[in-house]
Symmetry: C2
């Protein structure tokens, strides 16, 4: 009985995810679903990505949080169209919420829509939003053993961003172990190693993203 309800939820979500996909195709926009634990650095990563693609890509941002609007205010201050979704307790974004946001944002000319999901390594991986690309961030401070504990997120992501690499000397983080574990679960994953604090590695990521968005357009 409970399982039937759950299946219903996923089916309903999938239908709206396909509507989002059709809407984005019509606009010619590429959508990126950004997922991570709380505090892995999602918003800072978006800010740095916006800097890196400025002048090349027209971007809009959808911010998902349980509560608050600090993130969307940070983004909007840069002049990029941004909208906040407050899930009011729910631990992930659903396609319906993103649909509402897509319809309210001014997407005239937008080539890239970045969606910041709720900070959570579990449920966001289960709900499609209609995105082109699933990107996850792992902060070095979280440890290299996370793929074993949150396998769905690491298997489903197209891109893994390893953030806060400036902290490696102060932790027991083992990059080789991380990469070995992730590639076994997800051989086609793209991995970028970056620090939003020092700027290291961000150029390679934004160049790759620009090419990817342009190739899809």
């Amino acid at each position: 009985m409970e399982i039937e309800v759950l299946e219903g939820v996923f089916d309903a979500n999938e239908i709206i995810a396909r509507e989002n996909r059709a809407l984005l195709d019509e606009l010619g926009a590429f959508m990126l679903n950004l997922m991570a634990s709380p505090g892995a650095g999602k918003t800072s990563f978006i800010m740095k990505t916006l800097e890196g693609v400025a002048g090349d890509l027209q971007v809009a941002v959808i911010e998902g949080d349980i509560a608050g609007k600090v993130d969307s205010e940070r983004i909007a201050a840069t002049g990029v169209p941004a909208i906040q979704i407050n899930t009011g307790g729910s631990c992930h974004l659903e396609a319906k919420q993103v649909n509402t946001a897509l319809n309210r944002l001014d997407l005239e000319g937008a080539q890239l829509v970045i969606v910041e999901n709720v900070g959570n390594l579990v449920c966001p991986a289960e709900f499609k939003l209609g995105e082109d690309l699933k990107v996850m961030i792992l902060s070095v401070a979280e440890g290299h053993d996370k793929p074993i504990k949150y396998p769905l997120m690491f298997s489903e992501s197209d891109v893994l961003i390893v953030n806060k690499i400036d902290l490696i000397p102060h932790t027991d983080f083992d990059m080789e172990v991380l990469e070995g574990t992730v590639r076994k679960m997800n051989p086609s994953v793209e991995i970028f190693k970056i620090s939003c604090r020092t700027g290291e590695g961000l150029g390679a990521w934004t160049e790759w993203l620009k090419e990817r968005v342009k190739a899809s357009g």
Copy 2:
């Protein structure tokens, strides 16, 4: 219709949480529900807590993870009774799972049961397990702004452990801002500042815990 199902889930959980409470009272055991983001240091914190209370308290550990058993193996290697719950995809522990674990563990003489919840700052705060104490860990690397984004977890916790304080010099973490924000939401919260890596602050925590467990017995 969906809301009714959700209420049903919470009610059913609450009934079993009360059964757990009665079982623990009968045994004279104190139960701690430990919650945090992925990678905040829950298992290392349990290992250090076990060291700190060794000789004073008899402890058992229930490990909750979506998948894997690396954590329970680490605990069991110390000789402490441990059991692993794999939620198989679910982002939080429910009272029923803890009930099964309580009934399978050898709790003869146990004074303290530590439950490590799934790494997630959202849903675990919503599901009572029958615990005496809700303890959450925030890693310095996650940033001092987390209470604004995950208000339920910070409001519901009896104890906030700020872990990885050895990383503070390498981050923009502001302890005063964190404490101010948390105390406004949760005036009675106990805050301990620790580093599982250097051992700093752990003595104050384990002394407080020992007193608390003994006072309840």
